[in-house]
């Protein structure tokens, strides 16, 4: 196992690249009018899905439009990812055990920051309402669930990692395994 640690690390780091072809996170709304649901997918550099229908439904309660311009993160997140992949490859090939662990912790740290950023956006999206909205329910905020299921008026909202998101988790776990098995002395 030990002699494969380097290969394992390289594999884990490269599989992070899947985020360019798979979405990270998915929010779905279900309602009587939408029995099969409408969804948006959040990617490393884009948002896709039924955005226009999300916006049409949400404008009644004064929620702001979802647009790619509204997420400056989408512009630079991909470069951070590319940077992490290059760093990971260099670490995997030339690095020592402690470097492996450093990369893993850095990745986990960035992931936590990303999730915090996501939560902050959700909070604003659900609370920062247009005062001229047609439908105003006193005390009501429309923040989607951070993780899981939540009922909001006639809607049930679901928020879970999408395929790419699960792959990130698996990649980090594999990288951690590589770090764990890496021989302490070997370069």
């Amino acid at each position: 196992m030990k002699k494969y640690a380097s290969a394992l690390m390289v594999f884990a780091v490269l599989s992070m690249g899947l985020l360019f072809v798979l979405p990270m996170w998915k929010i779905t709304l279900l309602a009587p009018q939408y029995p099969t649901g409408i969804s948006i997918n959040i990617w490393i550099n884009d948002i896709s899905g039924d955005i226009s229908n999300f916006n049409i439904m949400n404008h009644y309660v004064g929620m702001r439009k979802i647009t790619t311009d509204g997420f400056p993160e989408l512009a630079y997140m991909q470069y951070i990812l590319i940077g992490m992949i290059i760093l990971g490859l260099v670490t995997g090939i030339f690095g020592k055990k402690k470097h492996y662990w450093m990369w893993v912790f850095l990745m986990v740290f960035l992931g936590i920051i990303g999730l915090y950023d996501f939560y902050r956006w959700e909070y604003n999206y659900g609370h920062n309402l247009d005062p001229f909205a047609a439908i105003k329910v006193p005390g009501m905020a429309y923040q989607p669930p951070f993780f899981g299921r939540k009922e909001l008026l006639n809607f049930i909202a679901y928020s879970y990692p999408a395929v790419g998101g699960y792959f990130v988790g698996i990649s980090i776990f594999i990288a951690a395994m590589a770090a764990y098995f890496k021989h302490p002395e070997q370069a």
Binding site: D50, S52, N53, I56, Y60, A134, I135
Partner: protein
């Protein structure tokens, strides 16, 4: 006195006897009446037609509206009505024939026709099976054939049939939809001219028409017409399997009567089924035997990309004359004014439903070919050989009922025939011609339908009988009553009545098809990026109002829950205003409607991604409200706007806005 008493006694006895007899006969009459009214319902009939809320029906039924001119779509076995597709009649609800996009569909060589009589729906077929691509239907009064696109359930095309009067024997497809056909139910002057009606025998002709269908686009074009004697061509069906390449048309009035036909056209013991060898016709056309005859007819096509129809003037047709084309047409003598001519699913048997008879006549295709090869002709009428009746006869279904009209097949060797006069459906065995079962209908059944029952591959689970008269079957609605359809389970030995439901117009004929052949192709929206309507506005920024002399073009959009623009000023009395309205929604089942107070027009019901246009010429100054007519959203009632109309000589500036 004594005599008087005797007489009185006798009278009492007689009166008592009469009373008793009267009571008894009343009782019998009530029993007989009850027998006519009620079918024997199996105890589980309800569960067999119960489609639970949210569940789907197994079959679509496309039921013609007869004199309504439309085509209705039902689910089977539930009998639930899903949609009425406007085809030959205007429909104010959908702006069909009112908006600028669909008006050209109803143009004919006689001008705009707001109505017709739609009789026989016919689904397109591939390799003898219904393929769920298109449904064709004939317009009977002003001869036409329409094609409905089953991805949108909208009329896509209507072609007029020249040299015809009453397109009844239509549209009946060939097994790969190479052709749909048309045939004239009236003999008409050929060419059409001002001539004495009494010159019928000399100047009138009967023309049968073969319409080519493009296998990719479905677009129709008249390939050729066949000039025949002026009989009344009633119904048709094409061969299948071995008989593929032939089409059979029934006829009545071989007497060539032109007045009081109910007597005059019922004298000959036998009329004819005309057998047309259309593969032979193709050869003759290739050899240049088709005469280019001047004709005046319209070909109207709706383009889904531009979402608009155009009406094209056509000027010639190719006509084949039997005298010049030996082997093209044969007549099969068939008793008693045959109505339906139905080819069984094997393609071997051709059933003539002699409507003034108790019997059914069945011809054999292979025997017909043999008679042709042996030249076993009874006579020749206007260059058309009449085949020997005994030679082509396969068998007779004896005394099955009264007034046979139409037969379909279950694919398991059984045939089902409607009997109008005795008001029943009779099941019989193909080949042995024995009657197996009979079931009453309520009342006076015309056509029947088994899904795929006139194709090579029937799905013989249900049978739908379509009735002309309902009398006491439903709650009364004044003198005008609904007509009806009745559903039978035919999966067992005995037919079992399951359901009886009212229909639109006259349910003349129907086609049925497994839902799974339609559902995957059904469109949910029109994609906005594919909308090539010349007056579409693809977003709110593109909306505007443009004056061109006395014409004002309003480019408007609709989305939940507003119009853009919703305040318009600067329209003047006498202007012709065009509202080009685009529904910007891209979501399933979110149509919006549009109507203006007093606009002397029909509402538009616009589907997501679609653009439609209505015109309005305001005659009075004032402020006119308009609004969304389809309950679209929680703020549907707020989806409204105003148009200000000023006097013709006013100088109100042309302005438009939203949310200002």
């Amino acid at each position: 006195m004594k005599n008087l008493k005797k007489i009185k006694d006798r009278l009492t006895i007689i009166v008592a006897f009469l009373l008793l007899a009267g009571l008894a006969s009343c009782g019998q009459q009530a029993k007989d009446s009850e027998k006519f009214r009620k079918g024997a319902l199996g105890s589980d009939a309800a569960s067999k037609v119960y489609v639970a809320p949210g569940e789907y029906d197994e079959f679509y039924a496309f039921v013609s509206g007869g004199f309504s001119g439309q085509l209705s779509v039902y689910g089977l076995p539930s009998g639930r009505l899903f949609k009425v597709i406007p085809v030959f009649s205007v429909d104010a609800e959908k702006s069909y024939g009112f908006n600028e996009e669909t008006k050209p569909l109803l143009e004919t060589s006689y001008g705009f026709q707001p109505w017709d009589d739609s009789h026989h729906p016919e689904l397109s077929q591939t390799a003898g099976s219904t393929d769920g691509r298109w449904c064709f239907i004939n317009g009977n009064n002003t001869p036409r054939v329409a094609r409905i696109d089953l991805s949108t359930f909208e009329t896509a095309e209507i072609i007029e049939i020249p040299n015809s009067g009453g397109n009844h024997s239509s549209p009946f497809t060939t097994e790969n939809t190479e052709y749909v056909v048309a045939g004239t139910r009236f003999g008409v002057p050929y060419p059409q001219q001002d001539v004495s009606i009494s010159a019928y025998a000399d100047k009138f002709k009967g023309v049968l028409t073969f319409i080519k269908v493009d296998p990719q686009t479905g677009l129709m074009s008249i390939a050729f017409q066949v000039l025949l004697p002026a009989f009344d061509y009633d119904l048709a069906h094409s061969g299948k399997g071995a008989s593929h390449g032939w089409t059979f048309f029934s006829s009545y009035n071989s007497e060539k009567a032109h007045s009081l036909l109910e007597v005059g056209a019922s004298q000959n013991d036998k009329d004819f089924i005309a057998a047309i060898n259309w593969k032979k016709a193709e050869e003759y056309i290739a050899q240049g035997k088709g005469r280019d005859v001047p004709a005046n007819y319209r070909h109207n096509v709706y383009d889904e990309a531009t979402q608009s129809a155009t009406s094209n003037k056509m000027t010639t047709v190719k006509v084949l004359i039997p005298e010049e084309c030996p082997g093209l047409v044969y007549f099969l003598p068939t008793p008693k004014s045959p109505h339906g001519v139905d080819v069984d699913n094997t393609g071997e048997y051709i059933v003539g439903n002699g409507k003034l008879s108790a019997d059914l006549t069945v011809h054999s295709f292979s025997k017909m070919i043999d008679a042709i090869e042996k030249k076993d002709f009874d006579t020749i009428i206007e260059s058309i050989p009449v085949l020997s009746y005994q030679h082509t006869l396969a068998g007779t279904v004896k005394a099955a009922g009264l007034g046979p009209l139409h037969t379909e097949f279950d694919g398991k060797g059984n045939a089902y025939t409607t009997f109008f006069i005795s008001s029943e459906v009779v099941k019989w065995k193909v080949g042995t011609w024995e009657v197996l079962d009979r079931a009453p209908t309520y009342y006076s059944v015309g056509h029947l339908m088994i899904p795929g029952g006139d194709s090579k591959n029937p799905q013989g689970k249900y049978l739908l009988a379509m009735n002309k008269i309902t009398k006491d079957r439903y709650l009364p609605t004044g003198p005008e009553l609904t007509q009806s359809a009745q559903l039978y389970d035919i999966s067992g030995d005995k037919m079992e009545l399951l359901l009886d439901f009212p229909t639109i117009g006259e349910p003349h004929y129907a086609q049925g098809i497994s839902a799974d052949r339609i559902v995957p192709r059904s469109k949910k929206i029109y994609k906005l990026e594919e909308n090539q309507h010349p007056h579409a506005s693809k977003n709110e920024d593109a909306t505007k109002v443009v004056r061109e002399g006395n014409e004002v073009h309003v480019y408007m959009t609709m989305i939940r829950s507003h119009f853009s623009p919703d305040n318009i000023e600067g329209i003047k009395v006498g202007d012709k205003v065009f509202f080009h309205v685009t529904n910007l929604e891209q979501d399933y089942d979110v149509p919006h409607g549009f109507a203006v107070m007093g606009f002397e027009n029909a509402e538009m019901l616009i589907m997501p991604g679609q653009t439609e246009t209505v015109t309005w010429t305001p005659s009075k100054a004032g402020v006119y409200p308009f609004y969304c007519t389809d309950f679209c959203s929680a703020l549907h009632q707020e989806m409204q706007g105003y148009i200000r109309v000023s006097a013709a000589n006013a100088n109100t500036a042309l302005t438009w806005s939203l949310g200002k």
